[in-house]
């Protein structure tokens, strides 16, 4: 098992190293002088631009620039945002809780919907309830999340006025207000996500239900209920851990759009603002943090998986 975890860790670190290369090269792939592009709207003076080029080390050979940048990153210095005039890492850390809450909330909603619906579908494949479940999944997959968000705002915030459409309150500081602000964004992202997850739960469950030990349990004369909930579910839920890992990627991407709609002060919105204002130091930092976050979640899921799945545990 240890070997499995170590090999995942090493492979992940290699990927992260290449991601730093990609993120670093963002600035150098820009069509034109990065300093002019970034500071063009603030600084017009050529002397000033020359000074900035020297200040940020753009006059050095590219590999030196990369090594300097990487050393800075490793020591926790992600540079300074041009627009906010604050350290990038500080800006990101300030916004991290909002994004994590949104991801947690939508994941809860998506699992709460997809596990029961998936089991319902799988318990009787090709029946009416299966088609109903799969229709829901299809609708979830085809719905544009941002449109669903807007429609929810229209109904629950503008017409019924029961839930806020804008802003974020940390549930740890004010539980009721926090949950209120969390509700609509989480439902938006969670329902859309539930489409994909429902399908995966269904196919895992069907695979388990047709396995030998379930057939054996049925032959022993166990009731369908015991078979379904006591034997099948336990094994069908293991892959859910992997799903959670994969879904985090989709959620992190989806958060960019949803945070924008709900005025959610998270990292997704920070990335967008960085792109809009050509604040490329901030773009680099946020994308790198996103990739690291995604890597950490997947690593955690891998480790949990290794602990739970006996096939890996006894390897």
């Amino acid at each position: 098992m240890l070997r499995h975890i170590i090999s995942t860790l090493i492979s992940g670190c290699i990927n992260l190293f290449f991601i730093t290369l990609i993120v670093f090269s963002i600035l150098h792939l820009l069509p034109g002088d990065p300093i002019v592009i970034m500071f063009g709207m603030w600084e017009q003076n050529p002397q000033q631009i020359e000074f900035l080029r020297h200040k940020y080390g753009f006059d050095q050979p590219i590999y030196i620039q990369y090594l300097n940048w990487l050393t800075q990153i490793l020591s926790g210095n992600f540079g300074e945002s041009i627009r906010y005039k604050e350290p990038v890492l500080k800006l990101i850390l300030e916004r991290l809780p909002a994004t994590l809450w949104l991801i947690l909330g939508s994941m809860m909603i998506s699992l709460l919907i997809s596990i029961p619906v998936g089991i319902m579908s799988a318990s009787k494949p090709h029946s009416k309830r299966d088609y109903l479940g799969m229709l829901f999944a299809l609708f979830g997959i085809s719905t544009p999340a941002f449109w669903l968000g807007i429609m929810l705002i229209l109904v629950f915030s503008l017409y019924l006025r029961i839930l806020p459409a804008y802003g974020f309150v940390n549930p740890l500081e004010s539980p009721i207000e926090g949950l209120k602000t969390l509700t609509l964004p989480s439902i938006t992202l969670g329902v859309v996500l539930a489409g994909t997850v429902t399908r995966t739960v269904r196919s895992n469950m069907i695979e388990v239900l047709y396995s030998d030990y379930i057939k054996f349990a049925r032959l022993k004369g166990m009731s369908e209920r015991t078979v379904l909930y006591k034997h099948a579910l336990k094994n069908a839920l293991i892959p859910i851990i992997t799903i959670v890992g994969i879904q985090t990627g989709i959620l992190l991407g989806g958060a960019v759009v949803i945070e924008q709609i709900f005025g959610w002060p998270g990292i997704g919105r920070l990335i967008l603002q960085a792109v809009y204002t050509r604040d490329y130091f901030l773009v680099q930092g946020t994308i790198l943090i996103y990739a690291i976050l995604f890597f950490l979640v997947n690593l955690t899921m891998d480790i949990i998986y290794a602990f739970i799945d006996p096939r890996i545990r006894y390897e």
């Binding site: 492979s11 992940g12 290699i14 990927n15 992260l16 290449f18 991601i19 990609i22 993120v23 963002i26 792939l29 820009l30 069509p31 299809l138 609708f139 997959i141 085809s142 719905t143 544009p144 999340a145 941002f146 449109w147 807007i150 429609m151 705002i153 229209l154 503008l158 994909t196 995966t200 994969i246 990627g249 989709i250 992190l252 991407g253 989806g254 960019v256 759009v257 924008q260 990335i271 967008l272 960085a274 792109v275 809009y276 490329y280 773009v283 994308i287 996103y290 990739a291 995604f294 890597f295 997947n298």
Partner: protein, 282 residues
Amino acid sequence: MKRIILIKEKISRILRNANALIGLVLIAIVFFFAIFADWIAPYDPVISYPSEALQPPTFRHFMGTDDLGRDIFSRVIYGARISLWVSFTSTISAAIIGTILGVIAGYFGKIVDITVSRFNEILFSIPDILLALTIIAILGPGTDQLIVALAIAYTPIFIRLTRSIALKSRELPYVEAAKAIGEKEINIILRCILPNCVTPVLVQGTLTFAYAILAEAAFSFLALGTQPPNPSWGRMLSDARVFMLTAPWAAVFPGISIFFTSLAFNLFGDGLRDAFDVRLQT
């Protein structure tokens, strides 16, 4: 002759699948509107008529008008063009590039495979929306830039799919026979390996197309895709947010269009997958 019978058999299998059939009909409708937009659209999608602003759905404007008095039905129809164009070009490019790289990696193996697979894994470790956003950050907003961004973001899935097919096909007896009689590598790839990829790539392509419809809309919504005044569904939605309470139709109809188009491709893709019994990794 044999090939024609095979294609006929494939088509009849698609038509017998209800999902695929419904999807195909919906896709045909969307394409019909997009192609014949110039004849179908009752009004110009770009010119504004301030006196007609924010009209609710009526016989004259059966999806209503927006804040500049533009007919929403006409804009939705022209929006289909942009949506389909971006999704089509980005999906096709991703499928072609992905298939070439995947087949080469899977067939030749060794260092080629290690390089391509590692590269692919790196791309996979960035969520695809974020990857596309990174590329947009470099290239700037716009329709063409979005096509490039989505094409790159969707390439990894095709590489993974075709690589695994090529890996399996390489071991097949007829491939080994072809190798034994000294057939050129390029011919083996084109005649023995590539045909095995066609159906899975077609299925994956249709499903990716559905994602691309949503992604195009999302990026236009964020003002990073198609630029005004050109009509795009995502942009229409984001503009409509301002006057959502007084004119909800301006937000409802573009959203429904995105939903149905994406649904159409998902249905068709699912139908194809079931009809041909293709197993895709998710």
